[in-house]
């Protein structure tokens, strides 16, 4: 008894350590054999304890930032607006040109019975916290299972992919495993050389592309995209850029990749809550053509009086008629004489402006991401050349939760 009293502290220490080591061994074993989570309750409670503080601080930070940016710091907005309008015009032209290629691709894919996977619904979420450990590169977002978040959902930003949902045990909080964690893995493909590999994180936080044979040549600066082979990320999303490629110790190259998304400064992300798979169909609705958009910019000719139009109509040859105000023409109705576009409020069909906007807004869909009206625009997600473009049918609305 005297010995026990004398070494009481040491005995308790050994007992506590033994219990924790035993618990650790059980967790590792259970995880390895059954892939279940024996410590779910502890994690849920811990996150539920810390997350409210993080949410409150995040809300305060966002609110104060919004007040500053939306009310006080408006210098240069006019100039920026003008530049953006010019940019939209340029992009509209580019988009119209690309839609012709896309339509051709869709026709070919339809002939081949090609099935595509595309993002049909995303949910905006705010990053509220991290794991706080360099060994666990993960973050917490303010959406949980009550918001429809489930494990293995892809998490992206406008710049590139971020990671996948690891746990969604809490109602309004979920844990996201970043792509630079050593336990993560993403199927990736190099943009030009089309070499496939597996993207992994390292203990130091770097991202490497594995399983590319050492006899291949990988140029520095080449883009890395998702290959879609992991079943989590759709094909063609931007991952990052090759920063270094050197022969490894084994048969494979040692390729370092710099993620396109800044993983150390994440604020808002998009969780891909729904992905659909369907067969490509050729575009039968007729997309806006570059020539139509150019025509729209030409000086408008005022509509002729009705009587004059009646007289002139038989004289104009089919296929040569151009809308006076530059209304885009449907490919299906091409060659027919066209009436001036109805006003937007008439409800008789989209106006020229509407069509142009539709065409421009569908630019994000080339990578399978639906255009969003309120959410962050996804314009930097570069499609892979082999990536099937989505069909032009109206897509399910993107759910963007405001913060």
């Amino acid at each position: 008894m005297d010995v026990l009293g004398r070494y009481r502290n040491l005995i308790v220490l050994v007992g506590v350590l033994f219990a924790q080591i035993l618990g650790l061994a059980v967790q590792v074993n259970v995880k390895r054999t059954t892939d279940t989570e024996p410590t779910r309750l502890i994690r849920v409670w811990a996150v539920a304890t810390v997350a409210p503080l993080e949410k409150t601080l995040g809300w305060l930070q966002t609110s104060s930032g919004n007040i500053w940016h939306n009310y006080f710091y408006l210098r240069g907005v006019r100039a920026e607006n003008r530049d953006l309008k010019l940019q939209i015009e340029r992009m509209s032209l580019e988009q119209a040109r690309m839609s012709q290629d896309a339509d051709q691709a869709r026709r070919l894919q339809a002939l081949l019975g090609f099935k595509e996977r595309f993002i049909s619904q995303t949910m905006a979420a705010q990053v509220i916290g991290s794991s706080g450990s360099e060994l666990s590169r993960s973050v917490y977002i303010d959406k949980g299972y009550k918001d429809g978040i489930k494990p293995d959902m892809a998490v992206i930003t406008a710049d590139g992919i971020v990671g996948k949902v690891l746990r969604a045990d809490n109602r309004h909080v979920a844990q996201v495993l970043l792509i630079d964690d050593q336990t993560s893995g993403v199927g990736a493909i190099l943009d030009k050389t089309r070499l496939q590999g597996i993207l992994r994180g390292t203990p130091t936080g770097e991202v490497v592309l594995e399983k590319v044979m050492s006899d291949e040549t990988v140029p520095v600066g080449e883009l890395v995209l998702t290959s879609g082979g992991d079943g989590i990320f759709p094909k063609g999303l931007l991952v990052g850029k090759v920063t270094k490629a050197s022969p490894g110790s084994d048969l494979f190259l040692n390729i370092h990749v710099r993620p396109a998304a800044d993983l150390s400064r994440l604020e808002e992300v998009l969780v891909v809550t729904k992905m659909d798979e369907r067969q490509s169909e050729p575009d039968r609705t007729g997309a806006a053509r570059a020539v139509d958009i150019l025509a729209e910019r030409l000086p408008g000719v005022p509509p002729k009086p009705e009587s004059a139009e009646k007289v002139a109509a038989p004289a104009s040859a089919p296929g040569t008629a151009k809308p006076a105000t530059g209304a885009p023409t449907n490919s299906g109705s091409e060659g027919k004489p066209k009436a001036p576009p109805p006003p937007v409020s008439a409800g008789g069909g989209p106006s020229a402006t509407q069509k142009t906007t539709t065409a421009a807004s569908s630019s994000g869909r080339s990578s399978g991401i639906p255009a969003s009206t309120t959410g962050p625009p996804i314009v930097k997600v570069t499609p892979a050349p082999a990536t099937p473009v989505s069909d032009p049918k109206p897509q399910p609305a993107t759910e963007d939760t405001p913060h």
Partner: protein
């Protein structure tokens, strides 16, 4: 400045109020999870470790030290996606060691606290590395420059944290 050997009678034992005992570790874990998002360099600090050392050296009770360390460590583990116990074991040992050392040494001055923090930071990292690599099978990268810099940075921050803790500790 130097660590001085003192007799048990000379050493003062402190305690913390219940709100401080609960809120300070929670705040430390919260800040450790939140600040790196805004300031990425903050990942080199380990606030929960500093709080464990601060509590343990003030209380000078090995049992209280190991329990505090164990609980804070488990809370820290629960926020990661790694098995629970990695931080738990490391902080249990640190809590026990810091309070045991606190009985024998005078750790009231800044210099002693600085050295103590460096020592226990190293202990923490070694234990963590061994368990993560040996028991869980994780790939760990050990970098001497990084560990040295991190140890120094934590020691500097530790002196400040201990000064804050001095304000809330109470004499028994």
């Amino acid at each position: 400045m130097a660590i001085t050997y003192t007799s048990g009678e000379q050493v003062e034992v402190y305690r913390f109020s219940i709100p401080a005992t609960v809120l300070i570790p929670l705040t430390a874990v919260f800040l450790q999870a939140w600040l790196p998002l805004r300031f990425p360099f903050f990942t080199i600090f380990d606030l929960p470790l500093l709080v464990v050392i601060g509590f343990a050296t003030a209380r000078r009770n090995p049992l209280a030290g190991l329990v505090t360390g164990g609980l804070i460590g488990i809370l820290q583990d629960a926020l990661t996606h790694q098995p629970i116990g990695l931080y738990g074991i490391a902080l249990t040992v640190v809590g026990f060691g810091a309070s045991s050392l606190g009985i024998k040494l005078d750790v009231e001055n800044a210099g002693a606290r600085f050295l103590l923090t460096i020592f226990f930071y190293a202990v923490h990292e070694v234990i963590y590395f061994m368990i993560a690599r040996g028991l869980v099978g994780l790939h760990m990268a050990w970098s001497w420059p990084h560990e040295f810099l991190s140890g120094m940075a934590n020691a500097v921050l530790g002196v400040l944290v201990f000064m804050l803790l001095d304000r809330v500790k109470q004499r028994t």
